[in-house]
């Protein structure tokens, strides 16, 4: 196995990994603010991609209008989900909240497919498919664009969490009660985090939709997104980016070497193994906050 091949695997793995991060950032945003593991992120990603398609294809808007418009729509949609479904479950056992997000996921998937049909469609971003060579390493252009978007979103969120509103969200993430007592509206903050996560879902939906087509396979990203989020620490955005890189490289390189032994399809196995090992060895992930439990 020559070195160039390994470098190529690693580079493309890293780019794919950053795309997982793009997905995981949405999970982290919501978990950070409200400790809700949003298993509906896959469904949201699908809805985001389908709304972009509906605006661009069915109405005929240009993409640079359709995507921001879809982001606005999804922002409201995400806040709506929080207001209608999740807020009344606050303080309930985690199993009910998990089930609620799973229910939302199933509902969103079923509804989008019932409305728009399951045939895979492409977003047609206009990114070329001809390969890009950096040195001897072949790199997919769309993955590069997606990775750039992920990094851009990461920077935006780092800056956002330094703004006044962002500090408010961080205060909510730290302590509900203390935030209430100094006059921060926790409800609004949590709603905002859902809105932001939905915008991230639009970005993820567009990029992933370009790569593998807009269909229900978008919601299958959930396991990978979850693994990235857990590995990085469920409440760390930087963790999500770094963990995305790690998982992407590990998955791409690992599966290439492992596939001949196990007869293919070892990608999912690697992802599941990373998830199990992370939870067993270091449940709070690389950069997550370790919660201490009291009796």
């Amino acid at each position: 196995m020559e070195l160039v091949f390994l470098a190529e695997l690693a580079a493309n793995g890293a780019l794919t990994g950053l795309l997982y991060s793009l997905f995981a950032i949405g999970l982290v945003l919501i978990y950070k603010a409200s400790s809700v593991p949003n298993l509906a992120q896959g469904g949201l990603t699908m809805v985001g991609a389908y709304i972009v398609l509906a605006l661009a294809r069915d109405i005929g808007l240009p993409l640079w209008v359709a995507i921001p418009l879809a982001a606005v729509v999804m922002f409201g949609f995400g806040m709506g989900i929080e207001r209608v479904a999740l807020r009344r479950l606050a303080g309930r056992p985690i199993v009910m909240i998990l089930m609620m997000t799973l229910g939302i996921d199933i509902f969103l998937r079923g509804t989008t497919l019932a409305i728009w049909g399951g045939t895979s469609r492409s977003v047609e971003l206009g990114v070329g498919y001809d390969p890009l060579f950096i040195g001897d390493v072949l790199i997919s252009r769309i993955h590069l664009v997606g990775a750039a978007v992920a990094l851009l979103l990461f920077v935006v969120f780092v800056l956002f969490f330094r703004s006044r509103l962002g500090i408010r969200l961080r205060a909510i993430a730290d302590d509900y009660m203390a935030s209430w007592s100094v006059g921060i509206s926790v409800e609004r903050g949590v709603g905002l985090s859902w809105g932001l996560a939905s915008i991230v879902a639009v970005a993820a939906g567009v990029i992933w939709g370009e790569i593998q087509g807009v269909d229900q396979s978008l919601s299958l990203l959930l396991l990978k997104g979850l693994t990235v989020a857990v590995l990085g620490g469920l409440d760390s955005i930087f963790g999500a980016v770094l963990a995305g890189l790690i998982l992407g490289i590990l998955e791409n390189v690992g599966s290439t070497y492992l596939d001949p032994f196990v007869g293919g399809g070892s990608r999912d196995l690697i992802v599941a193994a990373v998830l199990i090992l992370t939870v067993m060895l270091r449940p709070h992930g690389l950069f997550g906050r370790q919660d201490i439990e009291r009796v």
Partner: protein, 357 residues
């Protein structure tokens, strides 16, 4: 109204530990039992086989999950994988020539062994992280199933189950298969009903409420978590085997995919954590209503002259299934069992509300 009671007043311990503290409850249970026994003569064989039978088998399976999630409070998103272990080992054992009684037992025991592995995750983490670990384990099991032809049965990845037989009698009639499912569901129900008045049940509840606190009280939470996982896995394994033997007739990996795990959890939560009658309701709602609604939508569209394409129709049951979970959790997070309990509690002292405890 039907209960004719103004509260429960026990005068001795025997009456306090009775399974049914109110005669009306016992009569209702007996009535339902009689209905279940008479079902083959009351409904047509199509309904019996495509609605009643899966309903009962899934109820038995969901009760097993309720044991570990509702009683012991451990999240489990890999339940279908455990059912798969039971189903596959039972079918393989039966194919090998063992009588089905032993095959079911082998299915249950092997599921209990594998299912206990899930418990080791539960010893390390809980809550969300446990859910994620069991989810990952489900993916691993799926992968193993689809990638090992020796287990899943060759290129078509489906495994024909031998004809079901008990005590040497081959059971092929609809009625016979129904009674097998009914008998298993009844067994599990009786076990679960009695669980809450045994030491085991109380220990599980203590572990659910707070495992540290339970440990301080001298309840070995390590031990009881493993017991909970092993028992529920045994129920899962036998239910999976019976499901394959009486309903699917062949075992395939998709029957035990991650979506099925989520579905069983949805049945338990919609039914109500720790509620037995609720589990019956929850399974009925999640299993049967989406199909019924789809039929109604198709008919309604036909009556209105609307054209619905086939693809939309195929996805409406999923949308309805998701919507049911959302709506029930919004109305009553404790599920249908709690709703039933509310009505029962209201009627029990009606019209003398002032006697409510």
């Amino acid at each position: 109204m039907f209960y004719r009671l103004s509260g429960i007043h026990h005068t001795n311990y025997v009456s306090d530990t009775r399974l049914y503290k109110i005669p009306a409850d016992r009569n209702l249970a007996l009535f339902l039992l009689a209905l279940g026994l008479a079902a083959p003569f009351l409904v047509g064989s199509l309904y019996l086989n495509s609605y009643m039978l899966p309903w009962l088998v899934w109820t038995a399976a969901a009760l097993g999950l309720n044991l570990v999630t509702g009683w012991a409070g451990q999240l489990h998103l890999g339940y279908a994988a455990v059912m798969a272990v039971g189903a596959y080992s039972a079918v393989h054992a039966a194919k090998y020539g063992l009588p089905w009684e032993f095959a079911l037992l082998i299915g249950g025991i092997s599921a209990a062994v594998i299912g206990s592995l899930f418990a080791f995750a539960a010893l390390r983490v809980k809550g969300l992280y446990l859910a994620l670990t069991t989810l990952a384990m489900q993916f691993v099991m799926d992968w193993v199933l689809t990638h090992s032809p020796a287990i899943s049965g060759g290129s078509h990845a489906s495994l024909q189950a031998p004809t079901f037989a008990l005590l040497g009698q081959r059971i092929t009639s609809d009625t016979g298969l129904y009674y097998v499912a009914f008998g298993w569901c009844l067994l599990v129900t009786i076990f679960m009903l009695n669980l809450r008045r045994t030491g085991l049940g109380r220990a599980l509840v203590a572990v659910r409420e707070k495992d540290y606190a339970a440990a301080i009280l001298g309840v070995n939470s390590f031990y009881y978590k493993i017991v909970a996982f092993a028992t529920s896995s045994f129920i899962a394994g036998v239910s999976g085997a019976i499901l394959v033997a009486t309903f699917f007739f062949l075992a395939a990996p998709e029957q035990f995919s991650v979506a099925v795990s989520i579905q069983v959890l949805a049945m338990v939560i919609v039914g109500g954590l720790g509620s037995i009658i609720g589990t019956y309701f929850g399974v009925a709602l999640i299993l049967l209503v989406p199909g019924v609604v789809n039929g109604l939508v198709a008919e309604g569209a036909g009556a209105l002259g609307l054209q619905l394409n086939v693809e939309s129709l195929a996805h409406i049951p999923n949308a309805v299934y998701g919507a049911l979970i959302i709506i029930i959790l919004m109305i009553e997070p404790l599920g249908l069992g709690k709703l039933y309990g509310n009505i029962r509690d209201y009627l029990r002292v009606w019209p003398f509300d002032q006697f409510k405890k």
